[in-house]
Subunit: 129 residues, 2 copies
DNA sequence: CTATCTGCAAACGTTTTGCATCTGT
DNA sequence: ACAGATGCAAAACGTTTGCAGATAG
């Protein structure tokens, strides 16, 4: 509770439950996964609240939306600079903690100010091989 | 027509129209964009046919599905190894043709067979700055 | 006290499906 | 001839919205 006060958002019990679910979570959960989990504690929990909370957390930079899955949004509470390695078969996701320091030559940047990059590695995981 | 015969899929007039629309297309169009364009030529064209054709083209490796846009799938007929640079403001997309030869050290690969990677650069484009 | 959040249900945009009919090969 | 494609409408799916009532600060 105390640790979340600094976020400067209204801390409802539902939001706290979502924050606790997300803390340290490496599953890159979808809204539904979050909903189902938090619903155990709050049977009346609604999707609106999940999405509303995720939106609030995104805005304060506490959570990021991942584009890893074409069929649904995934969320990641890990805001550190990291990349993802995805199994082509089972779609499992592994975090990759390394700064690759890729710089895009000016002639390829088309006048853009480059702010950053995100690498998606893909391959076949041990289990699927 | 002849040039598409090698694809080994049934070439209907609708599919040819979609293939022609996609050929050399750098817009990373959504299904709707494709639909709207091809519909001019085929007023009876349906989304089912667009999605069906895209699915067929994906399967033969003629088109790829992009995860660039969280709200809808985008399609890219460019199957060469390339990356994307996206404007955070206007969401415009620029192709980046360069092989960055990023190799993931074994200790970070978690037992995966790495097959490749895709980099999303983000920044602010000239117009938006 | 009041600005904001919750929960519900309805609405939305995208993608998929079932099925009768049609068509490329 | 027939496997497979088309077109239509309905359904499915993830996400967003409107609103009345509840609640954190």
């Amino acid at each position: 509770m105390e640790k979340y006060r600094q976020l400067n958002i209204k801390l409802t019990p539902q939001r706290l439950a979502i924050l606790r679910y997300l803390e340290g979570n490496k599953e890159h959960p979808s809204a539904e996964r979050i909903y189902k989990s938090v619903q155990k504690e709050f049977p009346t929990m609604s999707f609106a609240t999940v999405y509303n909370t995720l939106e609030a957390l995104k805005n304060i930079g506490n959570v990021q939306e991942l584009k890893i899955d074409p069929s649904k949004k995934r969320y990641d509470p890990d805001m550190s600079n990291h990349h993802h390695l995805i199994c082509k078969k089972c779609k499992s996701i592994l975090d990759v903690y390394k700064d690759f320091k890729i710089s895009l030559p000016d002639d390829l940047a088309g006048g853009f100010d480059i702010l950053g990059n995100n690498i998606e590695f893909y391959g076949i995981c041990e289990k699927c091989r």
